[in-house]
């Protein structure tokens, strides 16, 4: 379906998708987690598999598969629990709150099926905490955006991190 769009339509779609992703990132950086939940489809799947250092011969085992272990394997209910935790006033790993910056780049629309748009994105999530804690998470992700009125709802986020050993105390933040 993507191939059937003319140039003007593609430019418009690219613009709309990017604006949505930037707005979403801004909500997370501003710690407006409730508002962020409002952007999610009810059937969202938010998933980050485990990555391993493997040889080239073994490369298809680099990431764990769905149904095996992962760092995140969340539905909407679970993401709501994450937000409730952040709001609890006792989420000590985020209070004092971390400072985070979500960068979104290399935005490529790779599929349009019905009202769903698949977007491949490179991300960089930078977080600092307290005096000395610095986390930098870079990776690729595949988002599925579903049309919703004049905007979108996030229906899938699959995150592929460029780290095997996670070099952080925790991942108490939202990617």
């Amino acid at each position: 379906m993507l191939a059937r769009l003319d140039v003007a339509e593609r430019v418009q779609l690219q613009f709309d998708v990017e604006q949505f992703l930037y707005e979403e990132a801004a909500l997370l950086d501003a710690r407006r987690y409730r508002d962020w939940l409002g952007l999610l489809a009810d059937d969202i799947h938010y998933w980050m598999p485990i990555r391993r250092t493997v040889t080239l011969a073994d490369i298809e085992r680099e990431f764990t598969k769905q149904g095996d272990m992962a760092f995140f394997d969340d539905d909407r209910e679970m993401l709501e629990m994450r937000v409730r935790k952040l709001e609890a006033g006792s989420a000590w790993s985020e209070d004092p709150p971390s400072r985070s910056r979500h960068f979104v780049t290399n935005v490529r629309i790779t599929g349009v099926e019905g009202d769903e748009i698949t977007v491949d994105v490179c991300f960089h999530l930078y977080r600092t905490r307290l005096e000395t804690e610095v986390d930098s998470w870079i990776g690729r992700r595949t988002d599925v955006l579903r049309r919703h009125g004049a905007s979108f709802r996030l229906a899938r986020r699959h995150l592929f991190l460029d780290q095997t050993l996670i070099r952080s105390t925790n991942m108490s933040t939202i990617f």
Binding site: M48, R52, M69, D73, D74, G89
Partner: protein, 453 residues
């Protein structure tokens, strides 16, 4: 190989034993930050002890390997052509290059990427480029095989290794308490490791990550926000007044909620079918089948707490996960999470169980998120000149409890939330650290406590 390190002059036997005072539960904070103590730990705790390497199911076929550590020494755990598991130091005997660079995988043999020395799965050096032409035939290959762990053995499918030739056999090292702890994983039948070991690194000493697993005091406060999120009912799993502690020789321990004796007596009368339909006692868990009593003992089977196989293997989620705390310097620790499920678990059970593991533990788990910073900040404050002189106060319950001894040899404490496990860990740790070798440790270590504790 062991017992040869020159002891830092600050740390003679007496000064090591003085680092923890069992009479008051006072711990010297330098155990969390001192460089010389850390170097000594690599020899006297890790190389000397039995270390968890991997589970049978992770390396089912000849040539399958998994990389793990004894302290900071990287080990290849590989199944040989004869089906036995070889535990080899991952370092080439020529110039020390690492042979395996992947975390896991499959190999027919190991070839060094530096000059091409070639080793069999059992570590034998089977090929050296230029052996005739450059070495002129005078290289003795039989002396240059990969170094093997001094002993390697398994219990219930869990493979362990030690670098100490004089260490007691694994079975004796584990003792009742260590064996009961491992049996918790297999209490409902044979298990397999789910693909994917979560690994992350925390700026804390490895011991504070270990002692925290006995700490059922912090749960309500540290993890209050997890309770608030709705993921679990903290009070429902905590049972602060039904805690059970088992302290084992060499430092093993199990501590946490326990099924009261009267309640267990009722469970003992139930058939396996009745048990599988009944709700579990701790919200998360199902009732263990009859066969578990055989493996864990009639009292051990009551434990819903956390075993630690000394020094650093934690068993949690009622035996569904194991977490290694691997030392990376006095103030850095890697956490490796293994998840184990019954073989052929039905898909629905599997999905529910994995979600519980992912959502509770690991770096993104709602419970685990809040632990790391407590540990890193406690480690940090053990470096300051003045704060490190304050000691840590591990006195909860000291002198108030009694060890019950059964005719079958089981020993346990039924009590409320307490710090017995932490005290036993540090007491054992000082004894391991003070002893020059296994003979001295055997002669001088405290037996598992009896009577009043």
């Amino acid at each position: 190989m062991l017992g040869e390190a020159r002891l830092d002059p600050t740390w003679d036997r007496a000064s090591i034993l003085a680092l923890f005072d069992p009479a008051t539960g006072t711990l010297d904070r330098r155990v969390l930050s001192d460089e010389a103590l850390y170097r000594l730990e690599l020899e006297r705790i890790f190389a000397r002890g039995w270390n968890f390497m991997c589970h049978d199911s992770q390396i089912p076929n000849p040539g399958d390997y998994f990389i793990n550590y004894i302290g900071e020494d990287q080990m290849i755990c590989v199944r040989g052509d004869d089906g036995a598991v070889n535990v080899l130091l991952n370092t080439c005997r020529h110039r020390g290059n690492a042979l395996c660079r992947a975390e896991q995988g499959h190999a027919r043999s190991f070839v060094c990427s530096y000059h091409g020395w070639h080793y069999a799965l059992n570590g034998e050096l089977i090929g050296v480029p230029g052996q005739k032409t450059y070495y002129r035939g005078d290289l003795d290959r039989s002396r240059l095989g990969l170094a093997r762990a001094a002993q390697a053995d398994s219990y219930l499918g869990f493979h362990f290794a030690t670098m100490a030739p004089d260490a007691p056999p694994l079975h004796d090292f584990l003792g009742e308490v260590g064996r009961t702890g491992l049996a918790m994983v297999c209490a409902s039948g044979e298990v397999e490791v789910v693909d994917g070991v979560q690994k992350n690194v925390i700026d804390c000493n490895w011991k504070i990550a270990v002692d925290n697993l006995f700490d059922w005091y912090h749960v309500m406060y540290s993890h209050a926000s997890a309770g608030h999120s709705g993921i679990l009912d903290l009070a429902g799993i905590l049972h602060p007044n039904n805690q059970m502690v088992m302290l084992g020789e060499y430092g093993h321990a199990i501590s946490g909620p326990g099924v009261p004796k009267e309640a267990q007596a009722k469970i003992d009368l139930m058939s396996d079918e009745e048990r599988s339909n009944a709700p579990g006692p701790a919200g998360l868990s199902r009732l263990r089948p009859k066969s578990a009593t055989e493996l864990m003992g009639p009292n051990g089977v009551r434990s819903l707490g956390h075993p630690n196989i000394f020094p650093n293997l934690w068993i949690t989620l009622n035996g569904m996960q194991m977490c290694l705390r691997l030392p990376r310097g006095p103030s850095k620790t890697e956490l490796w999470w293994f998840t184990l499920l019954p073989k052929n678990a039905p898909p629905q059970f599997r999905q529910r169980a994995l979600r519980a593991a992912i959502h509770m533990f690991g770096p993104a788990g709602l419970l685990e998120q809040d632990d790391g910073e407590n540990w890193s900040q406690s480690t940090r404050s053990s470096r300051g000149f003045s704060s490190r002189r304050l000691g840590q106060a591990l006195s909860m319950g000291l002198g108030h409890d009694e060890v019950t001894e059964e005719a079958n040899g089981e020993r346990y404490i039924d009590t409320c939330v307490n710090e017995h496990g932490q005290r036993w860990l540090y007491r054992s740790w000082t004894e391991w650290m003070a002893a020059r070798d296994w003979a001295e440790l055997e002669a001088s270590h405290s037996p598992a406590p009896t009577g009043r504790v």
